[in-house]
């Protein structure tokens, strides 16, 4: 990986390239970071969040150096692919956690697994309680059903909320991401 911290100027340049409006640029930055994290997760890279930040840093530095980037997201993808290749060739320099973790499910004893499940469920309940009531209601309703009932319920929800089904799906997805992140933090604390 390339060394060197990101300067405020380089970061500012990246935001400006994403959008002239600072607030919208911030949102686009978060969207791009989220895409990068999933890319590394889906590819099976060892440290998705760190790789995503590394990709953004490299892109920001290139922009600060005056490289003309017409499509930031496409450029990010190319940089992310390069970083991924580096991780597979061991250029990362760190020990990858995958091999050691692969055997975790088999190694874990049943009692430990059961306790972990209970902890996760307790964390989920805490995180649901921490959400605004309407958000908690939305996510439980959105993901509860299966099959035909699920479709009918989602259609009814969208209608009741005055949203398109896609917009409702995005809202539910964001809530789910928040909830998942909250549960992850809660488990680390425990």
């Amino acid at each position: 990986m390339e060394a060197g911290a990101l300067t405020p100027e380089a970061f500012g340049r990246l935001l400006l390239t994403l959008d002239a409006d600072r607030e919208r640029a911030g949102e686009k930055y978060e969207d791009l970071r989220r895409t990068l994290i999933r890319f590394f997760e889906w590819r099976g890279a060892p440290f998705p969040e760190e790789h995503a930040d590394e990709a953004l840093n490299r892109v920001a530095r290139r922009l600060a150096e005056g490289v003309d980037v017409r499509n930031v997201r496409a450029y990010c993808h190319e940089v992310a692919r390069l970083i991924f290749l580096e991780t597979t060739k061991g250029a990362d320099g760190r020990k990858e956690p995958l091999d050691s973790l692969k055997s975790e499910p088999a190694a874990a004893d049943a009692a430990g697994e059961s306790a972990e499940k209970e902890q996760r469920l307790a964390c989920l309940e805490d995180c649901l309680r921490a959400l605004p009531a309407e958000s908690a209601e939305l996510i439980t309703e959105y993901y509860r059903h299966e099959g035909r009932a699920r479709i009918e319920r989602r259609t009814a929800m969208a209608k009741a909320l005055g949203l398109r089904r896609d917009a409702l799906a995005n809202r539910a997805q964001r809530l789910r991401d928040r909830l998942e992140h909250c549960v992850s933090l809660c488990l680390r604390r425990k």
């Binding site: 099976g44 099959g147 035909r148 479709i151 009918e152 009814a156 909320l161």
Partner: protein, 310 residues
Amino acid sequence: MRRYLLGEMTEAERAALEREYFADGRLFELMVRAENELVDEYARGLLPPPARERFERHYLSHPARRARARFAEALAAKLGETGAAAAAEPPHAKPLWRSRPAFLRAPALAWALSAALLLAAAGAAWLRLETRAPRHETAKTEVPRAAQETRAGEPPAPVADGRPADGRPPAEPGRTRTEQRGVAPAPTPAAKPAPTFATLVLTIGSTRSAGAAPHALLAIPARTEKARLQLNLRESDYKSYRAALKAVGGTDVYAWERVNSRVTKSGVTITLTVPARMLADGDYLLTLSGVGESGELEDVSKSLFRVRKD
């Protein structure tokens, strides 16, 4: 998308899809949703065995993805509890979208049972066997049917509204059209014609349609070439459908992509055809998924039926 998530794509296919989802934020959101659907199905035990095995071997090999699957398990467990509690709530305490009858708010974990309810919903299910050309006029109609059947998933449309195209009432379960017409069977077994299709018609309602209903049985006479599964829906919410057939407790048998529906007077019909040789005696689960406007997949129905080869 599932092939990508399950590591079944070639490197070139992966890179192409990645370029697309980096360029199109909406596609990325669909990918995320597809991943959630996948982990939710795994958490609820709804993945067919080969996909489940692939999921466990590939998807769960990464710690972040494994954490996502465990989150889905916790969410499924929690929603199961919430669903049970919600059923006991007074109606006035519920938000607008929860104003539907309580039986529509069954716990998601009970979906496996809903397949049985759907089976019960198949109140109009009956078996209709079509034999090849006992009379000259029938032979004429069967030829174009057989030609249409070569296009998997496309409705050949010989039947509308659960009734034969000639407007007569449907055959009773286990009875052939030939029998209903009163046409005498061929005089000797050697001369008896082999059926072209064995057809099972399933009426897909919703889990509300629970009630007593006969078991859906697809009887396939010897030398039948194809089995036809006709699904009658009340309405069509999707531009196309995907269907998958698997043996209960066994392997995937057949899958149909981009299946179109056909609008009839009383609803929508989807016709699926599978070579009869691919079916053996036993129980089967047919899953129908709708493809939404932006490409996302949603389960529409799951139908259980039994195959008996005569």
